[in-house]
């Protein structure tokens, strides 16, 4: 069975048919070549596949494609403008908030969503918010530092 969907992916409207069992991560990777969306656990646990749906983080591996029909999906490739980095990407780079980088796209999107809701999150809020994103490499300190930097940068820019 296929289902027609129409949605906005990284600012561009896309209309196509998907199988009822297709999940967002696979469609983004395989159909649109958006391989920045990484699949770690494939069970909605690690957050590596996090993408934004109408600005809210969801796990792409555990969300059916038909469920995002009519919505707006943002992936890591959709952040930043014309090759420039978004403030969160810039902060992750400056703070060295990644090692292997496999969790990084999901982390950056998750943090982007946090800063849309709370422009000045305290450390406890940051750590709680990141509960959905596992990083096995860094020990998280550099990531928390990157969130603080990004928050400062966003505050300064506005």
């Amino acid at each position: 069975m296929t289902i027609p969907v129409s949605l906005v992916i990284n600012g561009k409207t896309q209309a196509f048919d998907v199988g009822a069992h297709h999940v967002v991560a696979d469609v983004l990777r395989e159909r649109f070549g958006l391989t920045g969306c990484k699949v770690g656990c494939d069970q909605g646990v690690c957050g590596a596949c996090t993408v934004l749906v109408d600005g809210a983080p969801v796990t792409g591996c555990a969300t059916f494609m038909f469920a995002v029909d009519g919505r707006e999906v943002t992936t890591i490739e959709g952040l930043g403008l014309d090759g420039a980095l978004s403030p969160v990407q810039q902060a992750f780079l400056a703070a060295g908030a990644f090692q292997c980088g496999f969790c990084t796209a999901g982390m950056i999107l998750s943090v982007t969503a946090l800063l849309l809701r709370d422009r000045d999150p305290d450390e406890a809020t940051i750590r709680q918010w990141l509960a959905g994103n596992i990083c096995r490499c860094t020990g998280y300190n550099a990531i928390v530092e990157a969130v603080r930097r990004a928050a400062r940068q966003v505050a300064e820019a506005s």
Binding site: C41, Q43, I76, F92, L93, G96, Y140, N141, A142
Partner: protein, 766 residues
């Protein structure tokens, strides 16, 4: 491990890719006509395979081919393992743990391959499972392997000994001794014997094991997440009986490994699948399967330690049992390193240590960050505190009295200590402000230690310098998150006097890349770094020789200044000089460099250890005496980078390792229930999340400048793993008197230890 020139995170193109989604991992590799593989795994811990019926599976549309043990028949040497080779490429007549691979399906897509695995009928004859070391060693226990083990021991030297298959279900035994332990333990003023246990954990690297392979004629090509491309090339060549040059491995970015992706695993099986299918095949394991592929060795360590009347350490005897699981993997090396490192960072008159690897019908144990150093340091540093307390002295005083001094060899004929252990301890203590004495609170310290750089390791490198002064660094240090390529570029540009941003790290491809022994044992910055430095200096010498010939002077009269040559008062821009001579597209000065730590049979490891990796660890805890709950309030961990190329990267390595050690100490564990793991799923296997970390968690980077690498640097990638557990247990004892000897420190164990302590006190007061 590695570290990189400051500001490099922003200037290094590879780093930028990691924040834009542009980084390419083996997981992302997709080739034309690519098929997909899925594996069928044994539900039994131990069984004979009577027959496998593939008929139904092969009839499913889209199924291309299926590999079973039958397909190994025409392979000349279908086993792998480090030194000792006992793991078949796929199960032949027997399965030896729940998770052992029985059949491998290749199909047009993953769903079809998965459905086919479910349609395969395997007739098993269950055999008795041996789920623990005790069960495997019990008299009359069935043998997990009936035939003698193939292969031999890794290289060893003076003072070290080994036995292969020394007893039923014992794979390997390593012994290490110097001095007369009997004499010194007999002469000791005090002797203490304690036993320590450590649990089984998994790497939980976020990128699962994934490889893509295809054949063209007699050659096989593979995109691999393996961190040791040349080791893998050698294994595939041996297993298939083909020249190494017919095996080509590409290593893109690796999504974490921590040892889990070192040495050969399922890659030869994939090569076989691709050969049979006659098409490219991608085999991506799930994270569940990663949990069934490799773990860190659970172990039990009994230490007998003697001291003289002044509290000086005299001798230690260690009896170590490592649970090796079903197959060898890197167990030989882990046994060697655990046994060798058991003395910790102290001076002894005698050591007598013996580490055995016992086979059980559980997930194979192998390489994991810390590599025996975790197990040895846990037991050693925990016992140091216990001894100090029994002697009624401050644990740090006992440590300080016995620490190895700078330059003092760790063992006879080995390299000297290349850092100031006492200075590091002072730095640690300075970062642990004495908390207000409060009941239930306590502080603990530990100095874990591990050698780094491997045994007799080597690396080669090429550094190409073009007419514009751009640098291309080519070496086999792969990027597994440690920033190895950036470190290599920093080393090359420092040696050349070029800006960091002028360097590019070439893709790792065994067809072009100069070889090394693999990106593990924290060797990249030191071993590969020295090769890169030598290659850069060679390129520079070629450039100066060229300039000297053009200018009609001696190379010694020239100096590189920016991208010009200074000759006395004259400055000659290089690009026009090179272009005017070579024309065309320009020229490259291609420098070659290499490093080899020579074998030396007089040393215990068979070669000097290249460097030493101490881990100064401090913990402050609060223990709830009612519930046994432990809160780690502060964790400080430091390591010596020798010279830090990039402080941020060093902190990241130390903290990342410490986070893994913290989780193992507190809660993380792969548990068995009956014959199968109870929590081998991403959801039930708990790793630390951001909010799980101690409220105050920090690291420091010492730069003692004595490392063997370029400019005194050395590896630190594993350091953070090896001191944390002991520091936390020592803090728990300081807080409430509960003496813990088993990891993890669950509330039940804390309460048990508290009960034991109060009954001891009662007994003593009677």
């Amino acid at each position: 491990m590695s570290a990189v020139a400051s500001t490099s995170h922003e200037g290094f193109a590879e780093f930028r890719k990691k924040v834009t989604g542009g980084g390419v991992y083996a997981f992302d590799i997709c080739v034309d006509r690519m098929l997909h593989g899925k594996l069928l795994r044994s539900p039994h811990a131990h069984a004979r395979i009577r027959s496998i019926d593939l008929r139904a599976a092969l009839q499913i549309p889209g199924v291309v081919s299926i590999i079973t043990g039958e397909d190994l028949r025409d392979l000349p040497d279908p086993y792998y393992g480090v030194g000792l080779r006992d793991q078949p490429v796929i199960a032949m007549d027997r399965v030896r743990y729940a998770g052992d691979v029985v059949a491998a399906v290749t199909a047009v897509d993953e769903q079809t391959a998965f459905r086919a695995t479910q349609a395969i009928m395997v007739d098993y004859e269950p055999l008795p499972a041996l789920m623990s070391v005790a069960a495997a060693l019990a008299p009359g226990a069935p043998l997990i392997f009936e035939e003698p083990t193939r292969g031999g021991s890794p290289v060893l030297g003076a003072g070290s000994g080994f036995r292969i298959d020394p007893a039923p279900n014992v794979l390997y035994e390593y012994s290490f001794a110097y001095g007369d332990a009997d004499h010194w333990l007999g002469a000791a003023d005090q002797v203490f014997t304690d036993t320590f246990d450590i649990s089984r954990i998994n790497h939980y690297h976020l990128e699962p094991y994934v490889n893509v392979a295809w054949w063209s004629g007699s050659r096989v090509e593979m995109w691999s997440c393996n961190q040791d491309p040349f080791v893998l090339r050698a294994d595939i060549s041996r297993i298939f009986g083909m020249p190494v040059n017919d095996v080509r491995i590409h290593t893109p970015l690796i999504g974490g490994g921590f040892g889990g992706k070192s040495y050969c695993k399922m890659e030869p099986l994939l090569a076989l699948m691709a050969r049979k299918a006659g098409a490219p095949v991608r085999l991506a394991l799930s994270m569940d399967e990663s949990l069934l592929t490799l773990v860190k060795h659970p172990a039990s360590l009994t230490l007998t330690t003697g001291l003289d009347a002044h509290g000086r350490l005299l001798a230690r005897r260690a009896r170590i049992d490592l649970d090796g699981g079903a197959y060898c993997d890197a167990s030989t090396l882990v046994a060697i390193k655990t046994g060798f490192r058991i003395g910790g960072p102290y001076a002894w008159k005698a050591i007598d240590s013996c580490a055995r690897v016992i086979r059980t019908t559980t997930v194979p144990s192998g390489s994991f960050r810390g590599f025996g150093g975790t197990q040895a340091s846990w037991a050693s540093e925990r016992q140091m505190d216990m001894i100090a307390r029994r002697r009624g002295e401050y644990p740090l005083a006992l440590r300080r009295r016995n620490l190895l001094k700078v330059g003092q060899p760790f063992a006879p004929n080995d390299s000297g200590m290349d850092c100031d252990l006492a200075a590091g301890l002072d730095q640690l203590v300075a970062q642990m402000p004495p908390a207000a004495r409060k009941s239930g609170r306590g502080m603990g310290f530990a100095i874990g230690i591990k050698d780094a750089g491997g045994t007799g390791n080597h690396a080669q490198a090429q550094v190409r310098l073009n007419q514009r002064g751009d640098v291309m660094v080519s070496a086999a240090a792969v990027d597994i998150g440690q920033g190895g390529p950036a470190a290599m570029c920093a080393i090359a540009t420092q040696a050349l006097g070029r800006p960091f941003g002028s360097a590019t790290y070439a893709a790792v491809d065994t067809e072009h890349t100069p070889p090394d022994n693999g990106t593990h044992v924290s060797c990249a910055t030191t071993i590969t770094g020295l090769a890169v430095e030598a290659a850069a200096l060679d390129a520079r010498a070629q450039l100066l020789a060229f300039g000297a010939a053009r200018l009609g002077c001696a190379a010694a009269d020239l100096e590189l200044e920016g991208w010009s040559l200074r000759h006395g008062a004259e400055l000659h821009p290089l690009e026009p000089m090179i272009r005017s001579y070579y024309g065309g597209v320009g020229w490259e000065f291609a420098g070659r460099g290499s490093f080899k730590e020579p074998y030396n049979p007089a040393t215990p490891m068979g070669a000097r250890n290249v460097s030493w990796m101490p881990c100064w660890s401090g913990a402050e805890v609060e223990v709830d005496g009612e519930t046994g709950q432990v809160a780690v309030l502060r964790l400080v961990v430091g390591a010596d980078a020798g010279r830090a190329l990039d402080l941020g990267a060093c902190h990241g390595q130390i903290e990342g390792a410490a986070a893994q050690a913290f989780a193992q100490a507190m809660f993380e564990e792969l548990r068995y229930q009956g014959e199968s793991p109870a929590n081998a799923t991403p959801l039930t296997y708990r790793v630390p999340r951001a909010a799980d970390m101690p409220a105050a968690f920090s690291s420091f980077v010492a730069e003692h400048g004595l490392g063997a690498g370029p400019g005194g640097l050395k590896g630190i990638g594993e350091a953070g793993m090896v001191g944390i557990a002991a520091a936390i247990a020592n803090a728990i004892e300081d807080a409430c008197g509960a003496s813990l000897t088993r990891i993890p420190f669950t509330p039940e164990r804390v309460l048990e230890a508290l009960d034991a302590q109060s009954s001891n006190i009662c007994a003593a007061s009677k």
